[in-house]
């Protein structure tokens, strides 16, 4: 039996309190549209960055592990806001 687990399966084992109201990471689609390298897509451990049908990178903040990798690799400056989730929201590690 393979020990290999897809990302959604792994994220399903984590505990999240998703803030439906306000995303803690915000992209500027206009800037992301100019990005050709999209390093965020490969680097995000939770694979939350996806190239949409229009060819522009989009983000689903639910499932964010709050590691900060996207903020570091972003070259185009499309991440116009990067903060931590509001109080009590986001991932909650039970092991860590």
């Amino acid at each position: 039996m393979s020990t290999r687990l897809p990302v959604p399966e792994l994220l399903g084992r984590d505990v999240f309190a998703v803030d439906e109201g306000s995303p803690h990471i915000v992209l500027d689609p206009a800037v992301c549209a100019t990005c050709t390298t999209t390093p965020c897509v490969a680097a995000c451990p939770a694979q939350l960055y996806r190239v949409g049908p229009d060819g522009v990178v989009g983000l689903d903040h639910a499932g964010c592990l709050e590691c900060g990798t996207c903020r570091v690799v972003c070259e185009a400056g499309g991440i116009v806001r990067w903060t931590y989730p509001r109080s009590t929201f986001g991932v909650s590690y039970r092991q860590g």
Partner: protein, 427 residues
């Protein structure tokens, strides 16, 4: 406390640095508020999982034995991986326990460990406020006078930022700038639950004892490595890779970790285990060069990972011990008063932390040898495989064997010597 301050010190972040700082300050009678955005201390924190205990003893003698650690590390392993092949060096015992029987290093899971440590700080009188995300610093006349959380202000004579590798507060205070992709590794980790007895048998350790394993060559040629630590009833397995190189290599941190778990030399360790958590964390890899020149400004200082106190030595990553020591030093600087930055630097020198950071600088060169991550593990395995291959003929001279392998991997002798020298120098 200045007249309009609510408390003497606000420490932001209840990880090892923040809790150690709050612990020390509270013990010395300062009023301290320790603010943590996780609903419990440790809920947002991730590390490979190994803690060098001298730092815990520096905070308070005898603390290690009270700490909820997972296992005492008695076995060190280095595994070179190439394709389906692997070669492993195992060192036993690892490090000496001190005369009092305190193990030199232990494995920890942060949700448990950090909650305990923050509880110790509370025990000293610090006020722990969990579930509170600090949004920004409160500034007045070019001085940090407090914090803002969800629109609420709180004032303090000093704010200590122990808010981790992505430190938003150190950035806001102007002490640090953006991190370069090359200065960090992205770490991903799974915790795989496993029966304690099975785990002990697989790693060849006794009850309460554990192993620390470093893996090289498992990152698809991307700058980085893997790790495997034994917890009480689980294994922490992960990879740390350079995030900027991933897109070009067509790899993802998640994919590399899944590959590693499937490797024939790794899989038996994990067999029958159940993955119970997936986590990610950035690891500073720029050593002393990543520590900002100024660590404090009026009313503010930065400590722990937020201040770059992390060392990737290749064979081990040190973060929690440096965090603890820097947190203690930060507390001592606050207690000393006067020029915060000068007092802090003096305390860091006194604790030998800056010397450690400087001494480790050479490792950085070693770690930047690209061949370390792809070529050399394969080369070493080829040599080893040839050594163990018996075909009935006379054994080839070892020198020729190495030469053949080296040529096959396209490593010129000059390159090998140069890399070797870098390695020797760095050590």
């Amino acid at each position: 406390m200045s007249d309009d301050a609510d408390v003497d010190v606000i420490v932001v972040g209840a990880g090892p640095a923040g809790s150690a700082c709050a612990h020390r300050l509270a013990r010395e009678g300062r009023s301290v508020v320790l603010v943590e955005r996780g609903t419990t201390a440790g809920a947002k924190n991730v590390s490979g999982g190994r803690l060098y205990t001298y730092a815990l003893e520096a905070l308070e003698e005898g603390l290690t034995r009270q700490a909820p650690f997972e296992r005492a590390v008695v076995r060190e392993q280095i595994m070179l991986v190439d394709g389906d092949r692997a070669m492993q060096v195992s060192v036993l015992p690892s490090g000496d326990s001190d005369p009092a029987g305190v193990p030199a290093s232990v494995t920890v899971l942060r949700a448990r460990f950090d909650a305990w440590l923050a509880g110790r700080a509370e025990g000293e009188g610090a006020l722990l406020a969990t579930g509170v995300t600090v949004d920004s610093l409160l500034m007045e006349h070019d001085r940090v006078v407090g914090i803002v959380a969800d629109g609420e202000e709180m004032r303090a004579s000093v704010v200590v930022a122990a808010d981790g590798v992505s430190s938003l507060l150190a950035r806001e205070a102007g002490l640090t700038g953006p991190l370069a992709p090359a200065s960090v590794g992205v770490g991903v980790k799974e915790v795989v639950a496993l029966d304690a007895a099975a785990l002990e048998a697989r790693f060849g350790v006794g009850p309460g004892e554990g192993a620390a394993t470093l893996l090289l060559g498992c990152t698809g040629g991307v700058h980085g490595g893997g790790f495997m630590y034994t917890n009480a009833a689980s294994i922490s397995i992960g990879v740390v890779v350079s995030p900027g190189d991933l897109a070009a290599a067509g790899r993802t941190p998640h994919g590399l970790l899944q590959d590693l778990k499937e490797h024939p030399a790794v899989r038996p360790y994990l067999a029958g285990g159940e993955s119970v958590e997936y986590s990610a964390h950035l690891v500073r890899e720029d050593g002393v060069r990543g520590v900002p020149r100024r660590l404090a400004r009026e009313g503010f200082l930065v400590t722990g990972e937020a201040a770059g106190f992390v060392l990737n030595l290749g064979y081990t990553v040190r973060g929690m011990d440096l965090a603890l020591v820097s947190g203690i030093a930060a507390a001592e600087a606050v207690l000393a008063g006067g020029d915060l930055d000068a007092a802090y630097h003096a305390a860091l020198e006194r604790h030998g932390l800056m010397a450690t950071m400087r001494g480790a600088d050479g490792y950085r060169d070693l770690l930047h040898l690209h061949r370390l991550y792809g070529t050399y593990p394969g080369l070493a395995l080829d040599v080893a495989t040839s050594m163990f291959a018996v075909d009935g003929g006379p054994p080839p001279p070892l020198r020729r064997l190495v030469r053949d392998v080296r040529r096959r991997h396209g490593v010129p002798l000059r390159g090998l010597v140069r890399d070797g020298l870098v390695g020797v120098r760095s050590l």
